[in-house]
């Protein structure tokens, strides 16, 4: 990556650092929300453009990630509202494209990914916020406007459903050697 250059204003430097530090996790969160590589890239682009326009409202570095996740979540909801009347849903349980059709798509990880893709959004979203965003149940509740107890239930059920989807695989119970 190109180093930060002298003469760039602090706002731009902060933005560039934020993009480089958080774009990967944000893309992954977008992917698990949208289940589409192309949509995920669009969402990340749009999220960072919005973040740039509202960068002054970001008070501290620690809150950057949850802040971006919240923006992206809203963007996704907006996109969903726009697309709802334009698209025909073929199969809610299958991803639009297959980002893992590469050599690394093999073994346990691929099966777990398939299982995660099959999770309903109400479980997949908080799970991704927790795993990728590093948020606690309370933080997720605050960001999504839900009761903390409801979020904890969703997180618990997300994992239970994953185990169910993974069937009797040893990995589902953490039974690997």
């Amino acid at each position: 990556m190109a180093p930060v250059k002298k003469g760039v204003n602090p706002r731009q430097r902060q933005y560039e650092a934020m993009v480089r530090a958080l774009s990967a996790d944000l893309y992954r969160y977008a992917y698990w929300l949208s289940r589409s590589e192309a949509t995920a890239q669009d969402l990340v682009q749009e999220t960072f453009l919005r973040a740039w326009k509202n960068l002054d409202s970001l008070r501290d570095a620690e809150s950057a990630k949850p802040w971006l996740f919240t923006i992206l979540r809203r963007e996704h909801a907006r996109l969903y509202e726009r697309k709802r009347f334009e698209t025909v849903e073929l199969d809610d349980t299958v991803a639009e494209d297959a980002p893992f059709a590469s050599p690394e798509r093999s073994g346990d990880a691929a099966q777990v990914r398939d299982a995660i893709l099959r999770l309903p959004e109400k479980y997949r979203d908080p799970l991704a916020m927790q795993v990728l965003g590093g948020m606690t149940g309370d933080e997720i509740a605050e960001r999504t406007g839900q009761q903390p107890g409801a979020v904890m239930t969703q997180l618990f059920r997300a994992r239970q459903r994953l185990k169910d989807l993974l069937g009797g695989r040893a990995v589902a119970e953490g039974g690997r050697k």
Binding site: A109, M152, G174
Partner: protein, 244 residues
């Protein structure tokens, strides 16, 4: 904390470092430690699965989009400023042209513009009769309500711009003072002016407007002539304002 609570919490937040959870894990003899270990391994699998490959150059594309957007915004902002500046210039020019047009069509401007064709009248010294003065006013549909000031040396029907006027010259203390009375032409109020070498006063009378002009005459003489014509036109007792 009992085992059920522990397993529910771990089932929702396997990475929690809550001391109460960790204490139960370490103290429990009913398999919660093993449960915690399995939960950690399952969480490792979830984390690994969720770490999908990120497209090459994603961060650079994001920065490029931001730079492009910012540049476009700057261009739009600059165009906005230019448009605003152009609007202001046009507004100032319009206001200037309007002011100049209004100024050129003001009574003082029209009165002064009328004078070059009448300069010879300033040299006349023979007094006019009251009948000649009255006739001059009647020619413009006006009638004097009081005696005309003494020392009137010139009476003529004129056009001051678009306005019909009685052009008068009154000589007082050997100083000619011009009075232009425009019956039916109304102005807002009295004002003094200096324009193109002429000292003047615009006076609103009940039936029209009187403009008094002089070149180099004393203020006292102008005041006396103006007062004399106002009294004559509006009907008050006119004092004797001078003599030839």
């Amino acid at each position: 904390m009992n085992c059920l609570d522990f397993r529910r919490r771990i089932g929702a937040e396997p990475r929690s470092r809550d001391p109460e959870l960790l204490a139960h894990r370490d103290a429990c003899r009913d398999g919660c430690g093993a449960f915690w270990q399995r939960a950690q391994r399952f969480e490792d699998d979830i984390e690994a699965a969720m770490a999908v490959p990120v497209p090459d150059g994603l961060a650079d594309r994001i920065l490029l989009a931001q730079a492009t957007s910012e540049r476009r915004s700057q261009v739009v902002r600059r165009r906005g400023w230019l448009a605003m500046a152009a609007s202001l210039i046009i507004a100032f020019m319009g206001a200037g042209m309007y002011w100049r047009h209004a100024d050129l069509n003001s009574l003082p401007a029209l009165a002064v513009a009328h004078m070059p064709g009448e300069l010879d009248a300033l040299d006349l010294t023979r007094p006019m009769t009251d009948a000649q003065v009255d006739a001059g006013f009647e020619g413009r549909g006006a009638r004097l309500k009081g005696p005309a000031p003494a020392g009137v040396t010139y009476v003529h029907d004129c056009w001051v711009g678009p306005y019909r006027a009685v052009h008068l010259v009154t000589r007082m203390n050997d100083e000619p003072v011009v009075a232009l009375y425009m019956p039916g032409t109304m102005t807002a109020g009295d004002s003094d002016f200096h324009r193109d070498g002429w000292d003047g006063r615009e006076m609103a009378l009940s039936g029209g407007t009187l403009v008094v002009l002089a070149q180099g005459a004393s203020r006292r003489t102008m005041d006396a002539v103006a007062r004399g014509w106002r009294d004559a036109i509006e009907g008050q007792q006119a004092p004797s304002v001078g003599r030839i």
